[in-house]
């Protein structure tokens, strides 16, 4: 599990320092603090960023909105972001609101508020609402990562690192090369959101990363995965063999 990378765009050092402190304390990685529009773009494109925290006013101009607009234009590069502002001026808000999805946080804010705002931004951005706030789920699936709520903060797991997923009622055991952990997510949702060209169901309770398969022993209904993990292959899902042959 990796920590989530945050880019801060904020021109007031005192405030950015406070932000850095709070986020670091909650296991977020700060990839950088930009103080201008240009600076922000450089940092954004040169580092792996998961969430951006943007102050609307940079040096007295609403450059924060311009920055958000810029990164929203390219769909592949865009990332979840949160606006910070000390004013509820309607005109500014109307403009900021055009950058969808729109999340904002009023200054001054406390630790809980900023963490909440970040979670909301991720939820809204990946269009999977009510994940982190409810009791039913704790994971959001993007194309690259699983964002999992751990305590007060978020963690991420690279999807291609997953070897297989074992479903146990409303929990899912995620087994990667190095780790094994439990997330809260429904089976239907995980099946819907995972890339089906990589992940295949082999059993009522198993979803396997086909790229991690080492051997399929049909006689024993068994799949051997990298790291010597063994998974059952039920008759219902035996079609998987054809798919893998064609792949290899």
């Amino acid at each position: 599990m990796d920590s989530v990378n945050v880019l801060i765009v904020e021109d007031t050092p005192a405030e950015s320092d406070a932000l850095v402190q709070v986020l670091t304390a909650n296991n977020y990685t700060i990839v950088g603090v930009a103080t201008s529009f240009k600076n922000a773009l450089e940092l954004f494109y040169n580092s792996t960023v998961d969430i951006v925290v943007i102050d609307i006013f940079l040096n007295g101009n609403p450059d924060g909105i311009s920055f958000a607009e810029t990164i929203s234009i390219s769909p592949n590069a865009s990332k979840p972001f949160v606006f910070l502002t000390s004013s509820t001026d309607r005109k500014i808000f109307e403009r900021a609101k055009l950058t969808q999805p729109f999340s904002y946080l009023m200054k001054p804010f406390n630790e809980l508020e900023i963490l909440y705002a970040l979670e909301m931004a991720v939820e809204k951005f990946y269009a999977q609402p009510d994940v982190f706030l409810g009791d039913q789920e704790d994971t959001i699936i993007s194309s690259q990562y699983l964002f999992i709520k751990k305590g007060k903060s978020l963690k991420k797991v690279i999807i291609t690192d997953i070897i297989y997923i074992e479903v146990e009622e409303k929990y899912c055991n995620i087994i990667t090369e190095n780790e094994k952990f439990v997330i809260l997510i429904s089976l239907t949702k995980i099946l819907k959101l995972l890339d089906t060209s990589i992940f295949c169901r082999t059993h009522r309770n198993y979803i396997v990363n086909t790229e991690k398969i080492v051997e399929i022993i049909l006689a024993d209904n068994l799949i051997i995965l990298s790291g010597n993990h063994k998974v059952t292959l039920s008759d219902t899902y035996k079609d998987i063999t054809k798919k893998i042959h064609t792949l290899k």
């Binding site: 509820t88 001026d89 309607r90 009023m106 909440y116 009510d130 706030l133 409810g134």
Partner: protein, 594 residues
Amino acid sequence: MVIFLDIFVFMKIPMHIKVEIRVSLILIALFSVNALSSQEEQEKELFDIEIKNKATEYKSHAYFHDAALFFIEKNWDSTLVYSMKQLNTIQNNTEVKDYTHYFRGYSFNQKDLFEEAEKEFNQISRQFEFYDLVKLRLGEIALEQNQFKKAIPYLKDGLLKSSNNLYFKKSIVLKNLGLCYHHLRQFNDAEYYLFKSIILQEKSQDTLEMVRTYGDIANLYYEQYRDDLAISYFEKAYKLSEKVKDFQSKRNTAFNMAVVEENRKNFKEALIYRKESEQWKDSLNNQNKIYEVAKLEKEFAIKEKQKEVTLLQAEKKAKTVERNGLFYSAIVLLILLTTIIYFYREKIKTNKIIVAQKERLDELNATKDKLFSIVSHDLRSSVNALKTSQAKLLDNLESGNLNALSNLLQNNSAIVNGAYNLLDNLLHWALLQTKQSYFEITSIRLFFIVEQIAYNYKPIMLEGNIDFENKVLKKDMVFADQESLKIILRNLLDNAIKFSNSDGKIEIYTQDVNEGYCDIVIEDTGVGMSEETRLELLKESGLLSKKENENIIGTGLGLQLCKSMIKKNNGKFSIESELGKGTKMIVSLPKTVL
């Protein structure tokens, strides 16, 4: 004209033949007069009554009805048109047909189209009620065309069948018969009928006819060269003519006398008669002239009248125009007046509104001023406290009393927090009043908002040893604007803490009392409030002035802000409190249904 021609002939041709021609000419002249008199008004009128009755009887035959009416009005052309139309319809009974043919025959006769008239009369059936009249008409037509032989049987027939008929003059028929025989030179018969006629005329005292008939008799004798008899009748006629007003008759008799005297070689007498005849002729001409003059006068009078009428019309027009002008100007004035009244009333209304608004504004302004003074007072106190504390801090720093420093700093922090909250509320109040702030109602999970708000107050509550519990369920969701909800909760929690004693307890939870609403309850175990205060707090725009507890009670701005924002979020606000036991602040917001 006939007479002039007569004189001309008289001068040129020998005596014998001359007399014959003369007589016949006079006869024709007399005859034509007879033909006219045969259509005597009186008889026609009587007959018209009969026609009218028939017209009413056959009202269903529209054309017949019309034809009959035109017949009565002597409008011959129209009678011909409508009678033709009637004949063209199919639904004719014999009686209608007979009447129609009679109308046509009579009309043609009046227009001197004798052959057509004869044809029409011949088409009438024998059953026709007035067939005798038809016979007489046919006889007259024949007479008119000088077919005397043909005329006689018709006239005789007609006479025979209708001895008591009211619709024609028997004497005239008799005279016509006489004339016919005269022309046929059957003088005896002629004499017989003429005498019969004259007897009837003498009986009815019809002087004019008598004059004519005497003339006819005289002519008859004269032609037979029974001059004595003839002359006596001529004289009789002449004398009788003096009683008559008809100039033509007077002239004819005078002229006949002149001719008679001339033939007797009494030229002197003849000259006198001739002169008299000339005189009557002049009279006739005069009469004509008088008629003409009268006609001209009449025309002139009509023209005058017309002029007058035109003038009156013009005057009337002018008057109408004037009246219309007055009318329109009255209307315009009325409209103007109405408009003025309307605007005046509007103005009064507007004035009233303005006055009301002014009062409200004054009130608001007063409130604002009051608020201003309270806020500045509060701030002044805070800053003053800070100043004092600062001085103490410096003193303690110099003396190196570090324990006191910590306490003082904590105190300062509390003061600054209070001042900050006050300013924050002030800002939001101002933004709310000017409606400048961003406001978006969304679905919000209440639990996290409460957590976030409480987070800032944790240290204070810990310090005051106040037990806080967020009992809001994670699934509780409300519809609200996030920022304003935070302001509401912040203020209410702030109040709860402010009015809690140490070791008190504050709970935030939700309850489901009202349909469609989620009640957020902030409950404390603090000092509580009196009913009076409670009502005062719930009052619209009631800013609490300084009272009882100088240290605790603030401006009331926070609560006002809460109330306004709850209202803006479509929520409700209520307070439950018991003095000394605690207070429940209840915010009801629309619930999000999952």
